[in-house]
Symmetry: none
Subunit: 191 residues, 2 copies
Amino acid sequence: MFDALINMIPPTALHQSDYRKGEAVFWQDDPTRGIFCVESGQINLQRAMQSGHVVTMHRATAGTLFAEASLYSDRYHCDAVCIEPASVICIEKQEFTRRLAQEPDLSLAYGKLLATQVQTYRQTLEILSIKSARDRTLVAVSCGYLSGPVTEFATRIGLTHEACYRALRQLCDAGMLIQTGRGKYALPDPA
Amino acid sequence: MFDALINMIPPTALHQSDYRKGEAVFWQDDPTRGIFCVESGQINLQRAMQSGHVVTMHRATAGTLFAEASLYSDRYHCDAVCIEPASVICIEKQEFTRRLAQEPDLSLAYGKLLATQVQTYRQTLEILSIKSARDRTLVAVSCGYLSGPVTEFATRIGLTHEACYRALRQLCDAGMLIQTGRGKYALPDPA
DNA sequence: TCAAACATATGACCGAAATCATATGCGTTT
DNA sequence: AAACGCATATGATTTCGGTCATATGTTTGA
């Protein structure tokens, strides 16, 4: 939850906006306006590769922040695209940075935020380091990466959706996963 | 590097320890003592899944921090096991947290350290998202990832050393890289 | 409500990278 | 100097996942 952060920032430095599916909060290389809080909906943090295809770097869901690292850079380094109608609050960069230096509580909360992000990236890197599509898929599911569509999940863990579907099928056949519905998979009960 | 941090912490709040392969720095659900700096060796951050098998979440190497998030939780949420004889420094949680709140310089340095890590991880993620071994190798070299042995470089970018050598050979043949020595490659002058 | 877009799935085929094998260069260590 | 470990390097074979094709279910919005 980002309430702790929000409450330390004067309302004049906060800017709420609504986005519809497909709309962008910002684009890569836009000048950094600030960091964002997702009140509702979902925002995809993604980067367009030089080859043209898009890789999802993070999926910001209700109650989470995104673009925290923008405080340390002049330009956003990825696109933020709404994938589910969202309400988003922007915290002005300048005001936030100023208060970071002055208010220990805010600084502490901010540190926690960054530490959590680092943790997430490390886990993603670890998952990507798994060569076998089957094993990678299993670990990713175990770590709760499969929350939305399988296609999205597949790109997040560096697989084509076909390879991902095949891996899921294999894992179900092997009894290591259970299909709970169309496009829905869960870990079996550790009975 | 964590020297900047260490120098701002009184030695009484620092605890150096040596670990041998297989020994644990901490176990999941242990009360959090603090965050750790790896001077040498390697520490595996891993978690036992409910299914029983162990998932590696991160591999902490020399010059890096781990368990940063422990500052914000009472218990460690994974095991830290030595996988290569290691020297590790523990920064006492209470003292570090106290100083973070009181000393803006430390807070700033810590924030920057974490932010830098975020940037690095994102760059690595981008590199890993490049499917072609040739292109991935080229980008990785461009980003300065090839500093040590090629074998180590190869594993860092998710390739076998054989595939990496072949990619380097191809890139040299195509004139996109120049071999400056045995196991040494550089970008050609953009003349 | 109807079409378009998207997601779920699976099969066939192919190619790139992993694997296996081999050889040599280089720096220690004994 | 000889032996050993490690890195460099490349060739042959295999395998796994990408690409392409196809079909159907589901959501969305016009």
